[in-house]
Each structure stands twice: as C-alpha cells, then as structure tokens.
Symmetry: C2
Subunit: 259 residues, 2 copies
C-alpha cells in the first residue's frame, strides 16, 4: 500500500507502465487521474477521492467480486430496458474511463452527460473535448437548462433532455447529496462506488461496489451479451438482483479479506 510511489510518477504515457507490473491497475488509475488534473479535467479533490477509493479496492482484493458482477449484469439490463438511459460523467470518470463510457453508451443506446460538482465552463469544455477525442459524438450537460430539485443551485444543473428526463441514470463516483436527490426524483439509479456504506450506493437501485476501471467494461460486456434478450429476460435479471445482499457481500469482503 505504501509502495504507491515506488514507480516513478514521471511516466509520461501510460504505455510506459509495464502491463505485468503487480500494481498495474493502480498505477494506470493514478496516472490517468494525474493527467486529468494536468489537463483541467479532474479537480484536485478528485485525486484525493481516487486515493480513498484505492484503499477500499485494496481491501476488496482489487478484483470484481461475484456480487459486483451480478450488479454489473443488472446494470446492463436496466440500461437496455430503459426508455431514456443517461450516463453521468464527472471529472474522475472522464479521466479514468473516457473510451469505456463511450463504448457503454454505444452498447446501450444511452446518452452521455457531463455533470460536475465543481462546475466551471473551462472544465465542462475540457471534459466534453476529452470525451470527443475518445469517440463521443454527442455530449450533453453543457447547456444545463434544468435543475434537480432539493440541491444547491450550482450543483443541481442538468440538461432538460438529459438527466432531467432520464428514467435510468448511471452515476459513477457520485457524491451522496446528488445521488439522494436523483433518487428522490424517482430515477432508477445505478451507482459505482468502492465504499459500500457511503450514501450513494446506499440509495442506488443497483449499487456496484467495484473499481470503475473494471466495472464499466464489465457492464458493456454484459450489455453486448444481452443485446438480443427480450424485455422479459432483462426484467428477470433485474428482479433477480438483490441490492441489500450485494452491499452486504461487499462489506463482508472488506472486513474479512486479505488486508
């Protein structure tokens, strides 16, 4: 754990990090976030949040536990069954999984919407540009002409034709206040968060306790497998998923896993 810095932080391109390095995933993650800060995509606090997440991932064993895989399959089914699914993108999400979010949007027919806690025009533009560099066609959230009720003005901004009217939203790495407010709007909420007891996964219909680097490609893979499934099959996967059991399994793993 404290060995976080035994690989030089001066790696310029992630290709320089050897794939067989035992800390490969962690190093890639940190590298992408650091580049995100440099590019104005990620807030400095995002580096802190990512560090916190990495501690929980370490306690989870840095792997997708079976209950998280179930959640990822249920998330794919929710997105496929939705009338209007939206994937919410903040600074850390954009830095960590830009191409992966674009692929998930493609696989599920979802919109991409930038939604920032520390919202500035510069960051919005940088993130939209970054997503387009990674294959996004349409990026919502720049207009932000609607408001989520019960949230501070600045943090409540969403697109009327995006998150505001979505029936299913994926909000990875989301803060508790916004996750609660979206829940109160009646959205079906899919959350990715490494701490099973934080508020966001607690209020989610589908809490995914997994590293976003693993979770997003996994949801996409499930969505591709389920591309030809009919509504009944998708609904059965959703009904079969037990959110309480998933949260408990994650907590159990954190408490009893190899430290």
């Amino acid at each position: 754990m404290s060995d976080y810095d035994t690989v030089s932080a001066e790696v310029e391109h992630e290709e320089e990090i050897p794939e067989d390095h035992p800390r490969y995933q962690d190093l890639i993650t940190r590298h992408r976030i650091e580049k995100g800060v440099e590019k104005g995509i990620t807030h400095l606090q995002g580096m802190h949040a990512e560090g916190r997440g990495s501690a929980f991932d370490y306690l989870l064993g840095e792997e997708t536990i079976p209950s998280a895989n179930d959640a990822e399959r249920a998330a794919a089914a929710q997105l496929l069954l939705a009338d209007h699914p939206v994937l919410s993108i903040n600074g850390n999400v954009a830095a960590l999984v830009p191409a992966e979010m674009v692929a998930l949007a493609d696989a599920t027919g979802a919109d991409l919407e930038v939604n920032l806690f520390n919202r500035t025009p510069e960051r919005l533009t940088a993130i939209a540009e970054h997503l387009r560099e990674h294959g996004a066609d349409d990026v919502k959230g720049l207009e932000a002409d609607a408001r989520i009720p019960n949230l501070d003005h600045k943090r409540s901004k969403v697109d009327a034709e995006g998150i505001y009217e979505a029936d299913v939203v994926l909000v990875p790495l989301e803060d508790g206040d916004r996750a609660e407010a979206l829940d109160e709007m009646g959205k079906t909420e899919i959350v990715i968060d490494l701490n099973p007891l934080s508020r966001s996964p607690q209020v989610a219909d589908v809490p995914i306790v997994d590293n976003i680097i693993r979770a997003v490609p996994a949801i996409t893979e499930h969505a591709r497998e389920l591309a030809d499934a009919d509504d009944d099959e998708l609904q059965a996967i959703i009904d079969d998923f037990d959110r309480e059991r998933a949260l408990e399994a994650a907590e159990e793993r954190i408490r009893s896993g190899d430290l």
Copy 2:
C-alpha cells in the same frame, strides 16, 4: 465517505472551515494538502496518498486508538533518549503539520530534515521556506551530501550530519523502500502510517498507526510530560512497548470497527 465533497473546495483559508463540522479533521487535512500542491510543496501523488490514508482513518474511526497512544509515548521516549534524533519531512508532512513538526523538534531536541521522493530544487526550497514560516530555525536536507545504501541514487540523498548519522529517525508517511533501507542501516525507526500492513510500519521499531494530524501533537505532548524523566524511565517505556501487538490492534480495529 462519499460525502467528501459536500463542503466547497473553494475555501481559501482553513479558518473558514467550522470547527464543529463533523468532518472537520478530514476537511482541514484535504485543505492543507490542496494548498500544499498549489504552493509546490506537495506532489500531486501526495493528494492521492492522503486520500488513501483517509480511507484507513475512516475505518479506524478517525481517532487515536489506545495502542497508537502507546506508540506515540514510546516514540517520545525514543526521541528523548536518542543521541541524535532527526525528524524527516516530505511534501505531505510539510503541508499537513509544519508547525507541529517544529514543536516536536523543539520538545525533543531533534533536527528537521527535508527528504523527498520526488526531489527537485524547487520543492526543497519551497518546503524549507514553508517550515521556516512555521518557526523552524535550521532545516537540513538541502545539501544532501550523503547516501542511504541500497536505494536509487535520487531517492537516497540525505545529510551527512542529519539522517545519515542519526540514531533515531521519525519518518512519517514514508515509502516502503526507504523505510526498509533506513532499517537496514540500523536506525531506530519511528513510522507514522495509517495502513498497519504496509511495509513502512512493518519494518518500524515504533509503528504509529494514526493520522499524522493527531499523532505529531500527541508525541510532543508525551515528550513534554517526559521532559524530566531519567534514562531508566524512558527505557522502561520503550521496553514496555510491543510493536507486534500495536500492529495487530490496529488491524483488528480496521476489520471490526464501524464501517
């Protein structure tokens, strides 16, 4: 946990953070690190490391557990009994507890030495200046005319009259390689680290599993209480301290504490 960002990151001075805020300590910590990055004191990776630490602190209950208090008392005794104690300062330590490290140096007669993983002249100067602003007279580590054996050239630099010849060193938030190398030099090593199973506390004579924000003032307080103690009393405190038991108690707390 995911509520980390419900206080605006735009607080300019830490006095603006209300002391009765339930997340006061965490907010102060993040604020200081963020300012440290802005001032060129703290490496971006330090923000990540601090985030990781905060997750372990959360699992510890964000308080000094009894075994950590024992370790802090043993650390004070070690520093007081030493012929030449040195307190090692890196970017996170300088950002988080500059005045507190100066106070500890005063209370124990220890030297302060800047010792950086990502060593650049600019960061060395910024940190030395920052310590002087917080009351330090003499700051070692700028010359770095000696080398710790068995470490990369760049990371091995220390002062011949500082860490190199010290008998007792306090190395808070230290990476595992350097902690091991110092241990191999035969130093009595005091480590502050929130993950009991990381390498640095594992090799330490006195592993302190506590938040540095709480730990350093606590060591100073013990040192002041022990100012008139004779060598036998100090030695008895040291002999009475059980490093294995302290590490086990911290791990037990992390596993069984309120998540």
